[in-house]
């Protein structure tokens, strides 16, 4: 049973004006419950447009979005319900913080769900724990935080609604390597704890290679590849042709392969390559 499904989804911006632009064309895709999907594609390929359809923020120009088999744009109530079930963290979410305190900002979503005060408090603390926001920051103004902290608070604001599916649009853009890694770890931890479906949009091949189980590649508003990271990253040439690249590790593995070193060509994380190389050296991965 897929949780999220799109059928021939098409979106045209500014239709009928001289600035008309088709951002999505006939995108059909299924995301099963609990799956961890990475969405990649060059800038302007329609990733953000696509994810904004999944919780009913953008009405499709053509096609449908189904959540557990029901069209989310059928009526107003459904669309609102989809907002809470599918949590969407926008690109640069730190610019949407508005409350006087961090606590109140994280509580905005749960408050809109009309939860009780106790329940809200519980969810805020839980969400803050997931993203690594210490409770000592709760009474600060969001504007006083650093960029990375703001990002975490914004992500917590969505997690606090306990969505069944969590969609993150470039959550690591503009962060330092440690910040990126730690946010990705937080997301993985959230998924382990809740079993939520996760859709991660990213420019960084390294990021998605590290945690996604399935990769979907967008180009010019179409899905051009869909498969496991090993399958997708084995098509290095095709990826380069659409302005993407393979992770550095895959590149190294490919070069080694070309030099005659017998490592599997489908390495895409550091541990995989390390194990492959160690296996070559002496069989045992003793390091």
């Amino acid at each position: 049973m897929p949780t999220i499904k799109t059928e021939a989804l098409t979106h045209v911006y500014s239709r009928g004006s001289p600035f008309e632009q088709t951002a999505l064309e006939n995108v059909t895709m299924e995301i099963a419950r609990g799956e961890f999907v990475g969405l990649i594609g060059r800038t302007g390929s329609g990733k953000s447009t696509f994810v904004q359809h999944l919780n009913g923020l953008l009405p499709p120009t053509g096609g449908r979005v189904l959540l557990d088999g029901a069209d989310i744009n059928a009526d107003k109530k459904r669309r609102r319900e989809a907002r809470f079930r599918v949590g969407l963290v926008f690109q640069y979410p730190e610019y949407q913080l508005f409350e006087e305190t961090v606590y109140r900002d994280i509580a905005f979503g749960p408050r809109n769900m009309k939860l009780s005060g106790r329940e809200i408090g519980e969810r805020v603390r839980e969400a803050a724990r997931f993203v690594g926001v210490p409770e000592t920051l709760f009474d600060k103004s969001p504007l006083e935080l650093s960029g990375g902290q703001k990002r975490r608070v914004a992500i917590a604001g969505v997690i606090a609604m306990r969505p069944e599916a969590l969609i993150l649009d470039e959550p690591t853009a503009g962060l330092d390597p440690e910040g990126c890694a730690s946010i990705l770890r937080n997301i993985a931890a959230y998924r382990r704890a809740t079993g939520a479906t996760v859709l991660l949009v990213s420019h960084s091949m390294e990021d998605v290679a590290r945690i996604a189980e399935r990769l979907v590649v967008f180009d010019g508003g179409h899905i051009v590849m869909d498969g496991s990271p090993a399958q997708v990253f084995s098509q290095a040439e095709a990826l380069r042709a659409i302005g993407l690249d393979v992770p550095v590790v895959t590149e190294i593995a490919a070069r080694l392969h070309a030099l005659g070193v017998v490592v599997p060509a489908c390495c895409y994380t550091v541990p995989q390559l390390r194990n492959a190389v160690l296996a070559l050296r002496g069989g045992a991965a003793d390091a």
Binding site: S14, N55, R83, N112
Partner: protein
């Protein structure tokens, strides 16, 4: 979307009119409007109408764009028409009831009045549809240049206007984005009582203002870093430059104005 409002003003193109200097277009629009106010009778109006239709055809912009622009003013146009029908006196009486009287003169005045308003509006649309806001500000600044002698801060006004124009689409886009982000967290901007709706705007307005101030601050620093210090001694990268086609167009419009003046004095 919100964005369509401002971007919809300019229709990119390469026509003769698009390529005219903004100063030419500004001047010709003024001449056209002056001629409109002088025109009194059929032949003059026919000439003005023909000129507009011809220009619209030259730009290659769909006429529906102009009609769409007229729509918000429909009420004013109808109001003017009705007022004129009943107010103007003279000619033969066609209809009379209580204080309402319709005469042939009234109908004629109303017709011309409506035509005049429509031509006036479409004429100015012709200017804004074919000129980017930036080009328009540049043109205005150059036309107003002589006022600098009177210590009017022309350059500063023009700079303020270009910055404002430059940031309108940016801020609208940002407002769109923040609205979406808050909706994703269940914000409700559409329903509720008035007080609730005003309160619901906070999650939009606070981030929007924060970001507007941040942008203003960054822009000011960026301008200072490049040694901006007002208009004094400042040169331009893109110099506006009038060519033969500009002088020809201005001459044409001047003749038109004179012609309409003569026609009106002849009662045509």
């Amino acid at each position: 979307m919100l964005k369509d409002i401002t971007l919809g003003q300019y229709f990119p193109g390469e026509s003769f009119i698009h390529r005219l200097d903004p100063r030419t277009k500004l001047l010709c629009t003024v001449l056209y409007i002056a001629a409109l106010f002088m025109a009194k009778f059929f032949i003059s109006y026919a000439l003005m109408l023909f000129l507009l239709v011809f220009s619209v055809a030259v730009t290659g912009i769909r006429p529906s764009a102009f009609l769409r622009g007229l729509k918000p003013l429909l009420l004013i146009i109808i109001f003017t028409a009705v007022l004129n029908v009943f107010y103007a006196r003279g000619g033969t009486q066609l209809f009379s009831w209580w204080v309402f009287t319709i005469t042939t003169e009234g109908l004629k005045t109303a017709f011309f009045m409506v035509l005049r308003i429509m031509l006036l509006i479409c004429g100015t649309f012709l200017l804004t549809y074919t000129t980017t806001p930036m080009a328009l500000t540049d043109g205005l600044e150059l036309i107003m240049n002589p006022l600098k002698k009177l210590r009017v801060p022309v350059h500063e006004f023009a700079m303020m206007m270009s910055i404002a124009l430059r940031f309108i689409p940016t801020l609208i886009e940002e407002a769109d984005k923040i609205t979406s982000a808050q909706k994703a967290r269940g914000a409700n901007f559409e329903t509720g009582r008035l007080t609730e709706r005003v309160k619901a705007l906070l999650p939009l307005l606070v981030p929007l203002f924060v970001s507007a101030f941040r942008r203003a601050d960054e822009l000011a620093v960026a301008m200072e870093a490049r040694c901006y210090r007002g208009g004094e001694g400042r040169t331009r990268m893109k110099k506006l430059c009038m060519g033969a086609r500009d002088f020809l167009t201005i001459a044409g419009f001047s003749v038109l104005l004179a012609g309409i003046a003569v026609l009106s004095s002849l009662g045509l």
